[in-house]
């Protein structure tokens, strides 16, 4: 390892870039999952619980099997089951999907912390990273370009989901259910079943996001592992206007904003750390205010979504 080169102020954008790539992956998976669920006309506010449950089950499985990949798959499975439970509970008449989300968040965190106590000490195999910065002599740049496989996979998944929603039969079915339950029924589609699978798939993606947290960055399991990425998935999807490709950019932006504080700290600016952290939320609120209207639903939002009607 070469000595760090003094980059002056260039260190800041570089650290933000590296940080954004590192921090954004869980945001990316959680927001893609939430996006898929919301496109089917249902909101899942419980992804925070799913994320943390994914983090602990991924870590535990990676520890027991010795393979981080098995851990990620297990996290996806657990997340999918948890999402399916959410979808099933919401299919009952008169059940409030927002409140169910909060209750699932509490249960998910409870289960994760309950079973996670035993895994705070042991070290599990972590996910590998691909060094894209090998061509450079600057160690900071190399560090910034250490990209995890899951980040690339998430990017590809965003493109795939956008294509799937636009061009396939499955995508069309999801969009119809999301825009009008009545129209879906008229087409002999069962809205609750479609939403069940969309919520389950969304949960699986959130589980993978959680596995990234415990198996790559920060790369260990503890009870404070998530800083609310799951809860903010809802904001991210609004920010991305329910478009999977935009979710990718939104995740990078949210990740970058989170990385801005530490990056500025590294060059001696310690003031306003938390304000940068809040910037994406202010931005999301601004966008929500600008695009909402008392006359119609938010532009780009699925018609059946309870939060934008």
């Amino acid at each position: 390892m070469a000595d760090p080169v003094d980059l002056g102020l260039w260190a800041v954008p570089l650290a933000i870039l590296g940080g954004a790539i590192r921090v954004s992956t869980p945001f990316l998976f959680v927001s893609l999952g939430e996006c898929l669920t919301e496109r089917s006309g249902r909101i899942n506010l419980g992804l925070e619980g799913t994320l943390i449950l994914g983090a602990v089950s991924g870590y535990a499985m990676s520890y027991h099997s010795g393979s981080a990949l098995v851990g990620v798959l297990c996290a996806a499975l657990v997340g999918g089951i948890f999402g399916m439970l959410h979808g099933w509970l919401c299919s009952f008449k008169g059940v409030n999907d927002i409140a169910i989300g909060i209750s699932m968040m509490i249960l998910g965190m409870g289960l994760a912390f309950y079973f996670g106590k035993a895994y705070i000490q042991p070290t599990a195999p972590r996910l590998p990273a691909i060094p894209f910065g090998g061509w450079s002599d600057i160690p900071q740049l190399r560090a910034a370009l250490q990209v995890n496989v899951l980040f690339l996979l998430g990017g590809a998944l965003a493109v795939f989901l956008a294509w799937m929603l636009k061009n396939t039969r499955v995508g069309l079915t999801i969009r119809v259910v999301g825009d009008s339950t009545d129209a879906a029924r008229a087409l002999a589609i069962r809205p609750n079943r479609v939403r069940l699978w969309a919520t389950s798939a969304g949960g699986a993606l959130a589980g993978i996001g959680g596995a990234y947290l415990s198996l790559y960055y920060p790369g260990s399991w503890n009870e404070g592992i998530s800083s609310g990425q799951g809860l903010m998935a809802v904001a991210l999807v609004i920010f991305a206007r329910w478009n999977p490709i935009n979710c990718f950019w939104a995740a990078l932006l949210f990740g970058g904003a989170g990385a801005l504080g530490p990056a500025l700290q590294s060059v001696g600016i310690t003031e306003g750390y938390y304000l940068f952290y809040a910037a994406p939320y202010v931005l999301t609120l601004g966008i929500l205010i600008a695009t909402s209207s008392t006359e119609r639903a938010v532009t780009g939002a699925p018609g059946e979504l309870s939060i934008t009607k």
Binding site: A99, M104, M109, L231, A278, Y281, T294
Partner: protein
């Protein structure tokens, strides 16, 4: 304004006997509570732990002895305020989930104004602190209501975002402008002078926040159930369009109720600072604002029912330590219990108003063998 789509159940929609709706409003949550406990017991049994031992420990540590009550009661106050913060807007059909933001900002306002008022007489100092806390909390959630009315912004998401912004602002101010240079490891505001600390009530050994919280619940109940304003609010919650046709001041109600919810959450923050912590620091961000959602739903958004529900949840929380030591269960066990109960309570909404029919079909099935 646009139609409020969040379906918040309102008691009294049952058909059949005139008394049944009231009975139903009480019976269904009780049954749900028991069913949630049974679900949790199954979880414990699978783990090889005894549910009987668990619940008897909760009873002993949370409720049964003179030693357990101070511990339980000291946890009741924030739950009362956080529960009211969710329940009051819910009666209007609004789902506000960002009470946490108003709690931490209210606490901050109380801590900063109290620390600045070192020499003034206590009544004046308390008045300033309470007003600062309630004003900031009320403003914070009042903005959410105003956005709903003026721009049609969804109040659930807006309040969640505002809660995140509030915690960020709280952390920023506690670690910069208002930081006490003497707080090295844990950034805090300057401690409140001894004269501006809220003490314990006589006999009960719990701080005055509990009494004020109970009073707030009573007043909120009177406001909603016994005033014209409350009647207008309940109509709006049931059917916003009908309320508008009737000429009810829907916009004013929305802003007023969200601001009131925020002000009460801010008052909760005041008591956490003035009676518990003595300063504003990260301990104030406890997540009690989110537990308030559970309290409100368990109470079916009835301010009077919030009191027993808050006591119940506080007692369970208070027993956490003993359960941990005696049964070797992690403290997250309480979270699992809360999650189980919450889910079943929400699920029970589906039989709301259909209990007579459900009971009839059950008795028929049983008599048919």
């Amino acid at each position: 304004m646009s139609k409020i789509s969040t379906a918040v159940p309102v008691a009294g929609r049952g058909r059949g006997l005139p008394l049944l709706p009231r009975l139903e409003a009480f019976l269904i949550p009780l049954m749900a509570l028991i069913a949630g406990g049974v679900l949790f017991s199954l979880f414990l049994l699978v783990q090889g732990k005894s549910p009987v031992e668990f619940f008897s420990l909760v009873w002993r540590a949370g409720f049964s002895t003179a030693f357990s009550w101070p511990n339980t009661l000291s946890r009741v106050s924030p739950l009362l305020f956080a529960g009211l913060c969710v329940a009051i807007p819910a009666r209007l059909g609004l789902m506000v989930i960002g009470g946490e933001g108003a709690i931490v900002l209210g606490g901050l306002a109380a801590a900063v104004s109290g620390a600045a008022l070192g020499g003034v007489p206590a009544p004046l100092g308390f008045a300033v602190m309470v007003i600062a806390a309630m004003a900031l909390g009320g403003l914070w959630l009042g903005i959410v209501g105003a956005l709903r009315v003026r721009r049609g912004v969804n109040e659930t998401i807006a309040s969640l975002l505002m809660a995140y912004i509030a915690t960020a602002l709280f952390n920023h101010f506690v670690e910069s402008v208002f930081r006490d240079p003497a707080s090295l490891n844990k950034p805090s505001t300057r401690p409140l002078p001894e004269s501006l600390r809220v003490g314990d009530m006589p006999v009960l050994q719990a701080h005055w926040g509990v009494a004020v919280g109970v009073l707030a619940c009573l007043l909120a109940w009177l406001l909603i159930e016994r005033t014209t304003l409350g009647f207008a609010a309940r109509v709006t919650g049931d059917n916003p369009r009908a309320a508008q046709v009737q000429g009810f001041p829907v916009a004013g109600l929305v802003i007023g109720f969200t601001a009131l919810a925020g002000a009460l959450a801010g008052l909760g923050g005041f008591f956490e600072v003035a009676a518990v912590h003595g300063t504003a620091n990260a301990s104030l961000i406890s997540g009690v604002g989110y537990t308030g959602i559970l309290v409100a739903f368990l109470a079916r958004h009835n301010p009077l029912a919030i009191i027993p529900v808050a006591v119940l949840l506080a007692g369970i929380e208070a027993s956490s330590g003993l359960v941990q030591r005696r049964m070797d269960l992690p403290d997250a066990t309480i979270l699992v219990l809360q999650g189980c109960v919450f889910i079943i309570v929400l699920l029970s909404e589906t039989i709301q108003g259909r209990l007579p029919a459900a009971l009839r079909s059950l008795t028929r099935r049983m008599s048919n063998g």
